[in-house]
């Protein structure tokens, strides 16, 4: 080699500077990675090792008006699993299925859930029994990603008695997650499915917390606690309702197993719903942690429709309970007074054109005042009153009373009542053709038949106006600012007269004794023709008590219940239970 000292020195210089250059390059690469990109890599290293385990928030407790519990949370267990891939999840679940019952569909569902949120634990059992939990705890070492967690579980102490208004909760479904309403929800979370639970979901939900577990590269849970500070779950505030739990229980009990229909009790002064029951009911507790498929099927296929709310969703012809609307519309317009007689006295029917319209009582009622006609529920009087009012006015008046409107009760899926729209002539032309109908529809409308189907809650609302100063209260289950709408433009005397007539329906001949022994009950029965089954009419009663200063409005409807008196008997017992006094006995009138 050329070994001249100058040569060597030159090469050593080149080599040394090259070395310094190479190391500077390396160091700058480390600077870029460790300082410039620190945030990115630091976060990635945290995502690598930490898995978020959601801490479900306790849902808001639901209380009745006296702070008795309607819905609460009890300790439960959820089982979930952290997996590194869909295959390893499937493998783990297959092994799990040897220990606990885990059908294939559930495994498939779990894998789909995993694919939605890979970094969250995949829920396997949302309500595991203590037995299952203890078996799993024993075998925990075999399932490295298994997370068993105590989680609040919804419980309704009164079960089926309160299901009609409280609803139930369940896991948010895949299709729900795609709806804007459930934006921000994550798979596996509980969500209100019906009733108050659904209506007040945002208030009842609380804020989910999160804790962090540390996993290694293979997805094994290495550290359960202390990996990072957990964010505790925040319980939701309680929900205070107007419900009177003893009355609710009593209502449920009185319907028993055989009756089918619905009842609602409202405080006419505030609109607060005291009780709301739809029969038959269902046990909301069986939905918690996933309803067994057979039960779900039987609830849906039951012809008595337990999941259908007969108070807010069912629509029935109001029958004679509607006569008060006809009377009020006529009184408002000065077309009649409470003492006025109609030209034709009742002889058991009324000839209109070439058709003969029967009164419910073939014996006839003779000549009656309006008050008397309400007491006796005389159809012939109301046929003539309807003709006096005229079709457009009757329909327009009905609409003003809210016959086409939802009440706005705080329950989901309330049905809108059916009633002709304001241009009544056009309505009937469309429905039957211009020559397909006559003024006879007016006769039917005026006694609560025909093109008129009302929800139970809407009839109750109308009677809150009769029970007060003519303003209808919006029915509210949850305590809120009362809302009223002046739907009746009647004088105090007229309203008092109508109330007296309604009291007369019941206290006819025995009013004196009632005033002493109990309380004056005012109300109207109705027997609504059932289009599907003419032999089994729907029985109605809408009324209030005490007649002088009403504290409770009750609407009862019995599907296929026959005569309205049966509904009246139930209503009377509900009122009795609420006012703790025996209402005066009432006489049967028709309707």
């Amino acid at each position: 080699m050329s070994f001249h000292p100058n040569e060597i020195a030159r090469r050593a210089r080149i080599a040394s500077w090259a070395l310094v250059g190479i190391f500077a390059l390396l160091l700058s690469a480390f600077f870029k990675t460790q300082v410039v990109n620190y945030a990115k890599y630091s976060q990635q290293s945290e995502t690598n090792r930490l898995r978020e385990v959601p801490l479900p928030a306790p849902r808001g407790i639901i209380y009745d008006r006296n702070n008795q519990v309607i819905a609460e949370n009890v300790p439960g267990y959820t089982v979930s699993i952290l997996a590194s891939s869909a295959d390893s999840l499937r493998a783990a679940l297959t092994r799990l299925s040897a220990i606990i019952p885990l059908p294939n569909e559930q495994i498939d569902l779990a894998v789909r859930r995993y694919q939605r949120a890979r970094n969250r634990p995949t829920a396997i059992l949302s309500d595991a029994s203590f037995d299952v939990v203890s078996v799993l705890e024993e075998r925990r070492i075999d399932f490295p990603g298994l997370i068993i967690q105590s989680a609040p579980k919804r419980y309704y102490p009164d079960g089926a008695a309160v299901a009609s208004f409280v609803g139930y909760v369940g896991e948010v479904t895949e299709s729900e997650l795609t709806m804007p309403r459930y934006q921000g929800y994550k798979t596996g979370q509980q969500v209100g499915k019906n009733g108050l639970e659904r209506e007040y979901e945002s208030r009842l939900r609380g804020r989910e917390g999160v804790r962090y577990v540390e996993v290694d590269a293979l997805g094994r849970v290495v550290r359960e606690a202390g990996a990072r500070d957990e964010v505790p779950a925040q319980a939701a505030n309680p929900l205070y309702t107007n419900i009177d739990l003893p009355l609710q229980r009593f209502t449920a009990q009185i319907f028993g197993d055989s009756l089918q229909g619905g009842a609602i009790a409202i405080d006419p002064k505030t609109g607060g719903v005291l009780a709301l029951y739809s029969a038959p009911s269902y046990n909301p507790n069986s939905f918690i942690g996933g309803i067994p498929p057979e039960l779900w099927k039987s609830l849906n296929s039951d012809t008595r429709r337990p999941l259908f709310n007969k108070v807010t969703q069912g629509r029935y012809p109001p029958g004679s309970t509607w006569k008060l609307a006809t009377a009020a519309i006529a009184l408002e317009r000065g077309l009649v007074t409470l003492d006025e007689h109609m030209p034709t006295p009742c002889t058991g029917g009324y000839q209109f054109g070439n058709r003969y319209f029967h009164c419910w009582d073939p014996k006839g009622h003779g000549s009656l005042t309006l008050a008397g006609a309400i007491e006796k529920s005389c159809d012939v009087y109301f046929y003539q009153l309807g003709l006096k009012i005229g079709l457009s006015t009757l329909v327009g008046g009905g609409i003003r009373l809210g016959a086409r409107d939802k009440t706005g009760i705080d329950l989901p899926d309330e049905s809108r009542p059916t009633f002709p729209y304001a241009d009544a002539v056009n309505y009937y032309n469309r429905k039957y053709g211009p020559r397909g109908w006559s003024q006879a529809v007016l006769l039917n409308l005026s006694i609560g038949q025909g093109e008129n189907s009302q929800t139970v809650v809407n009839m109750a609302r109308f009677y809150t106006a009769l029970a007060t100063d003519g303003s209808a209260a919006k029915p509210e289950i949850v305590k809120d600012k009362p809302e009223r709408a002046q739907i009746l433009q009647l004088t105090t005397e007229q309203l008092a007269g109508l109330r007296a007539a309604l009291a007369g329906v019941i206290t006819h001949g025995t009013a004196g004794s009632a005033a002493i022994q109990g309380v004056v009950l005012a109300g109207k029965t109705g027997t609504a023709q059932n289009a599907q089954d003419p032999l089994h009419n729907h029985a109605w009663f809408v009324g209030f008590a005490p007649a002088g200063d009403p504290k409770i409005v009750v609407a009862v409807m019995l599907e296929f219940g026959g005569h309205g008196t049966r509904a009246a008997r139930i209503a009377s017992k509900i009122i009795e239970s609420y006012l703790k006094v025996v209402p005066t006995t009432f006489i049967n009138t028709e309707g």
């Binding site: 190391f23 390396l26 690598n48 590269a217």
Partner: protein
């Protein structure tokens, strides 16, 4: 025998690196789920002590003795490598390769590590014996053969990483012996053509630059023609070779260029290593506290990827300290090379410096995806007996050469 004048800065630097290394091997073993690395540190300490003893013993021999023994050591090494192809065993990820010397079921070590030293000695002897540095391709045939034989044997194992070290040593020692830079570039040009062939315009530019170099440097006519033909041939050959590569081999190359195309498998190691280093920040997560390491996200953390543990737990600070120590060590070796009083010793010292540099830059570069994953260990850090022995053997040689050399010389960096 002359008294050995110990080059204390060099020895202390090597000692510090070894202590640092053992500490990191210990940390690499502290994982949540125990691994083979858990107790590696105790063995590593034994290896370090043994290696220092070896270094001391080597430093007692004279440079002349090293020169004399270069040929027998070289021949013995080549025979050992040849035998390895028939009887060698694999380990770990590379279970199918034959890089381990296995006798009666015991893995004794990786001869490739010692072969590097043997080749340096032999190449130094060959180049040092000349009066003038090689000036043409033809004159290079002997050094090429010296490196070529063991290189081929190692590439057959196959051990790509060690092969790269051999090439680094070859070029570095040619440079130190005085081979002009243009000639070195010309020698390397066909390999560059092979890589650039995938982009026609890049390759074209390279070819023109090379042509200009040939016209300026004016080698023998036949040499110039041969080189240019070789470059053309490589350019044509490369796409054909690419086609003939097995899909997994192609995949590996692609993953090197962009690890994110396969984050779960081939790219996994590099990505996790980068995450570990990047999340270390300025001062790291603290000794023993690396989460990527502790939770098994890092691959080969006590051997090839040990520098990622340094980066994660001790941050840029720890990285800077380690790299500074390495830089000092290599610069010290260059100083020893320039102070040596004979060409053989000078070439050996420079060859060893080159060997360290290639190890450090390729290994450290690999943890940041600047270099492909080849399985080159990090001197004084990576767990492994034969490599630790080879490192300290080099220190021993360096001590002796430095001891026989002269004092400071003009024109070098003041270290």
């Amino acid at each position: 025998m002359r008294r050995v004048v110990v080059d204390y800065p060099l020895v202390i630097c090597a000692l510090l690196l070894s202590i640092y290394g053992v500490a990191m091997v210990y940390s690499a073993g502290q994982t949540d789920v125990p691994t083979v690395a858990t107790h590696a540190w105790t063995a590593q300490i034994r290896w370090v002590i043994l290696s220092i003893g070896l270094a001391y013993a080597v430093s007692r021999g004279s440079v002349r003795f090293f020169e004399w023994s270069a040929l027998p050591i070289y021949i013995a090494t080549c025979l050992l490598l040849l035998g390895l192809l028939k009887f060698g065993g694999g380990a770990g990820d590379a279970a199918s390769s034959k890089s381990w010397l296995v006798i009666a079921g015991h893995r004794l070590g990786q001869p490739a590590e010692l072969a590097k030293v043997a080749v340096i000695l032999m190449l130094a002897r060959e180049l040092g014996a000349r009066r003038e540095a090689p000036r043409s391709l033809l004159e290079l045939w002997k050094p090429a053969v010296v490196v070529g034989i063991p290189w081929l044997l190692i590439m057959l194992q196959p051990d790509l990483g060690s092969g790269m070290v051999f090439i680094g040593i070859f070029f570095a020692m040619l440079f130190w012996s005085g081979v002009p830079l243009p000639l070195l570039i010309l020698i390397a040009s066909p390999a560059v053509s092979l890589v650039l062939a995938f982009n026609t315009s890049l390759w074209g530019a390279w070819f023109l630059a090379l042509l200009a170099l040939v016209l300026w440097y004016r080698p023998y006519m036949w040499e110039g023609v041969t080189l240019m033909l070789a470059n053309v041939f490589m350019g044509v050959l490369a796409p054909i070779l690419w086609e003939r590569l097995a899909p997994y081999q192609r995949h590996r190359l692609q993953v090197f260029l962009d690890p994110s195309i396969d984050p779960r498998n081939s790219g996994w190691h590099v990505i996790q290593s980068q995450v570990a280093i990047g999340s270390g920040g300025w001062i790291g997560k603290g000794f023993l506290n690396g989460t990527q390491k502790r939770l098994a996200f890092l691959p080969e953390q006590h051997t090839d990827f040990i520098f990622a543990v340094v980066g994660e737990e001790l941050g840029l600070l720890g990285v800077t300290i380690a790299l500074s120590l390495f830089l000092f060590l290599v610069l010290r070796a260059v100083r020893t090379a320039s102070n040596a009083n004979d060409s053989f010793g000078s070439l050996v010292a420079f060859g060893l410096a080159a060997s360290w540099l290639v190890h450090v830059s390729v290994n450290v570069g690999m943890t940041l995806n600047l270099m492909p994953i080849t399985g080159i260990p990090l001197p004084f850090f990576s767990y492994g007996g034969s490599f630790m022995l080879a490192c300290w053997l080099s220190i021993g040689l360096m001590m002796r050469i430095s001891s026989e050399g002269r004092g400071g010389r003009v024109g070098e960096l003041a270290i």
